[in-house]
């Protein structure tokens, strides 16, 4: 054997293409898997952000189109949403997240389902603790009759995205419930 005719085949078979690189949606710099996000207040869209871009939008009172999503998780003591509130929310599953829209000056509730996050009508009476949430970027994530956390909004999207792929039937099914339990276990670890 004097040459290596299978060199190309060997190169292709042995190489594995690198997974597509994640980039900052604002400046296209490469970002790591644990990058932060900013919210576009006009479109309510989440954008991946590198650290420098993220830091430009951390002031809650600045009049900017984008707002940095914080990474703190706080566990709230006691039943934050009582049974009456849950009934008024008309949420079919015992899981919801509530957030404040600064632009519209109102609070909205979402619950996860097979089609992603569904918006729900909020009870007329605003709930006092919602004032402690940072508008647009933090949410109250609660399980009926169980626990509640203040979480960054990207965590809510992560959970809804996961549930969407696992959802079976009306209440989500076993796999979805397991995913929720696992998610809340991780929140408990992250909570300050």
């Amino acid at each position: 054997m004097t040459d290596s005719p299978l060199r190309t085949l060997r190169r292709i078979a042995r190489s594995r293409p690198a997974p597509p690189e994640e980039r900052c949606d604002m400046c296209t710099a490469p970002v790591t898997a644990d990058h932060s996000h900013v919210v576009d207040l006009n479109s309510r869209r989440l954008l991946c952000a590198c650290r420098p871009c993220y830091l430009l939008f951390t002031d809650d009172h600045a009049h900017l189109r984008y707002r940095a999503v914080p990474d703190r998780v706080r566990r709230l003591e006691g039943p934050v949403l009582d049974e009456r509130t849950w009934d008024e929310l008309r949420i079919p599953v015992g899981l919801a997240f509530l957030l404040r829209h600064s632009g519209q000056d109102r609070t909205v509730a979402f619950y996860p389902g097979p089609a992603g996050a569904t918006e729900s009508e909020l009870p007329a009476a605003d709930l006092p603790f919602l004032a402690t949430l940072r508008p647009d970027v933090e949410a109250l994530l609660a399980r009926r009759g169980r626990d509640a956390y203040v979480v960054p909004i990207d965590a809510c999207y992560e959970l809804t995205g996961r549930l969407r792929t696992l959802w079976r039937g009306f209440d989500g099914g076993q796999q979805a419930h397991a995913a929720v339990d696992e998610f809340f276990a991780r929140l408990a670890e992250r909570a300050s």
């Binding site: 004097t2 005719p5 299978l6 060997r10 292709i12 078979a13 594995r16 293409p17």
Partner: protein, 151 residues
């Protein structure tokens, strides 16, 4: 199929597999056949048919060796393959380091032609080839003849 020219086929892959999609297709097909080859070897082994003679026959066949190497399935160690490929040449294997440096000892004089390709074909894990070549011993008489000529 007796006259199947696998070297030309390999060269065709070289020209056709350009662009990410084409490479991806080649990769997927190669993975599939690689998995099949591996299964065949496993089955031979399970049946007790994968003898040293069979392994040697595989090693002696250029096409089989080449394909087994594509998938990292060759039954022989790299040093065995290199030593076998060097049989009949003046070079001998000194060592193969874990990081793929292959050291060869060759006699003084001209470096044998095509050694690099020979090694690459049987041991793609080799990253670099180094030669150990003792300095030729110059006969004293030849030195004097040179002095005589220049003076």
């Amino acid at each position: 199929m007796a006259s199947y020219d696998w070297r030309s086929a390999a060269a065709r892959i070289d020209t056709l597999a350009t662009g990410e999609q084409a490479e991806e297709l080649v990769r997927v097909v190669a993975d599939l056949y690689g998995a099949g080859l591996e299964r065949i070897l496993d089955l031979l082994h399970e049946q007790g048919a994968f003898t040293d003679e069979v392994a040697a026959a595989f090693a002696g066949d250029d096409l089989v060796t080449g394909l087994l190497l594509v998938h990292g399935l060759h039954p022989h160690e790299a040093t065995t393959r290199i030593a076998a490929a060097l049989t009949g040449t003046t070079a001998e294997l000194v060592e193969l380091t874990p990081d793929g440096v292959c050291r060869l000892r060759i006699p003084p004089g001209h470096r044998p032609h095509g050694l690099e390709q020979t090694i690459e074909a049987v041991a793609p894990e080799v990253t670099r080839i180094e030669f150990e070549q003792p300095a030729p011993v110059i006969p004293v008489s030849s030195l004097f003849s040179r002095v005589a000529r220049t003076s």
